[in-house]
């Protein structure tokens, strides 16, 4: 493999770094790795962060099985190695260890901001799904050139959307 920075020398070093939004797996030659060394100090890596949180690196005792995500099969040890999670459910499976990590990265463990419409409120869920269903029927009606039916569906969708919007 050729060095990904200079594109000339044979890559001898492999490392993972995180620069703001991107986890980079880089293959570098010795020279470029040295140059990168200076730069790397300014960015943090997941393993550095994990190392900085006491207790989290403790090996699980024989009786306690390692944390494992029931959906995708990733273990917490996998995550420590890769620095990336396996699926959305991993957040729940590794919650105990992830929350301190999130706190360290973001200074917070609570999302403030937008969410998909459906989870805005439990009650809203059904109404949106209903609207979605109607929208599909509407598309079908238009495709079949059933314009009266389409107009009727359109009005029902509007009414539903208005109701969802007006909710306090």
């Amino acid at each position: 493999m050729i060095c990904q920075v200079c594109g000339k020398n044979e890559a001898t070093v492999e490392f993972t770094e995180i620069i703001d939004d991107e986890v980079k797996q880089l293959h570098l030659c010795d020279g470029c790795a040295k140059e990168k060394g200076i730069e790397m100090e300014q960015h943090f890596s997941i393993s550095d962060l994990l190392a900085g949180i006491s207790g989290l690196d403790d090996k699980p005792s024989g009786e306690e099985p390692p944390l494992k995500c029931g959906k995708c099969g990733m273990t917490y040890t996998d995550f420590q190695k890769i620095g990336r999670l396996g699926c959305g459910e991993c957040y729940d499976a590794f919650k105990k260890n992830l929350l301190p990590l999130l706190k360290r990265i973001h200074g917070s463990t609570r999302h403030i901001g937008k969410s998909p419409k459906e989870i805005d409120e439990t009650d809203g869920k059904k109404k949106i799904s209903e609207a979605q269903e109607l929208r599909q029927q509407l598309q079908r009606a238009i495709d079949m050139e059933e314009f009266e039916e389409a107009a009727r569906l359109r009005d029902r969708i509007r009414a539903l959307e208005k109701k969802a919007k007006d909710k306090p």
Binding site: E22, V23, L85, Y91, L98, I105, G107, R110, I112, G113
Partner: protein
């Protein structure tokens, strides 16, 4: 839009329009989103990755934003084309490292691009010219909302949008501005300002070139934290910081203009002479010289070339774009020769100074 049309056009973000576009070349919003039913890309099977691509294809076609858009599978592009997409800021370097089961959707004027199966299932990018963070966010928000009508995203009520790397969880939002700061670099203040920015939860890095090197005095400044603040708060705080940076750059420009006018004019005419007559020129060199010309135009010391042409040049002189123009692979030295010839032609036909 076809691939040929894409290569032939100038992306909207390079048009040199929009507020404060002399200093802020463009504003960008990026949202990380994942589909609830699949593992994250690096942990997914080939079949699952294909499922993600086809689910996304089905969903984007139902929105109003992608009429005439281009949907590309990365593994169907040749290596020069892949590189060109990076040079145009439409995809990341990581996206071509393993091109199998990866795709990108590009809107007609290159304002919107969505990478599929990069680190997250979807990386929605909106890129606009000038200092325009709020409008850019609003557009990203709308696209997100439309996609979510037909895709179920991975979310939790506590942690918001769930991402492959915990550094992106919550809003999944990365807002950034590409700033041209030649006067701050010239007056040796850029380092201090970058340090100050990092204390405020933002990062700055060079836009062109690798690592910390900021070729052409272009910096990309973005938020670091994605959890615990709303999207509007994140956009607002970046906007506030950028306003201060604009002010500092303007102060530095005025001071250089007032106190070192002759020195400045000297640098500008030397840069111009080099651009007009060089026979070999690296992209680093070219970017740095073009940056000085851009400053000269901004300060009214030079009448032309216009910003649109200069911005476009920053992209056209990149290695893959040059090779595409020549229609073949070129060695580094051949590229430097072709680049020098291309630039010199551009500058020799423009009435300048």
């Amino acid at each position: 839009m076809t691939l040929g049309e894409l290569w032939g056009q100038t992306g909207e973000w390079l048009k040199g329009t929009g507020p404060d576009t002399d200093i802020i070349m463009s504003s960008r919003i990026r949202l990380a989103r994942n589909l609830a039913k699949y593992p994250f890309p690096h942990w997914a099977s080939a079949g699952q990755l294909e499922g993600i691509i086809s689910d996304f294809e089905g969903a984007y076609k139902k929105t109003d934003y992608f009429k005439g858009a281009l949907f590309l599978r990365i593994d169907e592009l040749d290596s020069i084309e892949k590189q060109m997409l990076i040079e145009r800021h439409l995809i990341s370097r990581e996206h071509i490292a393993n091109p199998e089961h990866k795709a990108v959707l590009i809107s007609e004027r290159e304002i919107i691009s969505i990478m599929v199966n990069e680190e997250d299932h979807l990386r929605i990018q909106v890129l606009q010219p000038g200092f325009n963070l709020h409008d850019t966010w609003k557009l990203a928000d709308k696209i997100d909302e439309e996609l979510e009508q037909n895709l179920e995203f991975a979310v939790s009520s506590d942690l918001g949008y769930l991402t492959c790397c915990p550094t992106n969880a919550g809003t999944g939002l990365r807002a950034s501005c590409m700033a041209h700061l030649p006067a701050l670099v010239m007056t040796k203040q850029a380092g201090r300002i970058i340090q100050a920015i990092s204390k405020l939860g933002m990062t700055a890095r060079g836009l062109f070139g690798e690592g910390t090197e900021a070729y052409g005095n272009f910096f990309q400044i973005s938020n670091q934290v994605t959890l615990g603040h709303s999207e509007e708060e994140i956009v607002d705080s970046l906007e506030r910081i950028m306003k201060q940076i604009i002010e500092q750059e303007n102060t530095a420009r005025n001071s250089v203009f007032a106190n070192q006018r002759l020195l400045l004019e000297d640098r500008i005419s030397r840069s111009l002479a080099e651009l007009k007559s060089a026979k070999l020129i690296s992209s680093e060199e070219a970017l740095n010289l073009l940056s000085i010309i851009r400053l000269g135009v901004d300060l009214g010391i030079m009448k032309g070339p216009d910003r649109n042409m200069l911005n476009d040049l920053f992209i056209q002189i990149q290695p893959a774009h040059l090779q595409k123009k020549e229609g073949k692979r070129l060695s580094a030295e051949e590229r430097d020769a072709v680049r020098a010839e291309f630039i010199s032609k551009k500058f020799n036909i423009q009435p300048i100074l």
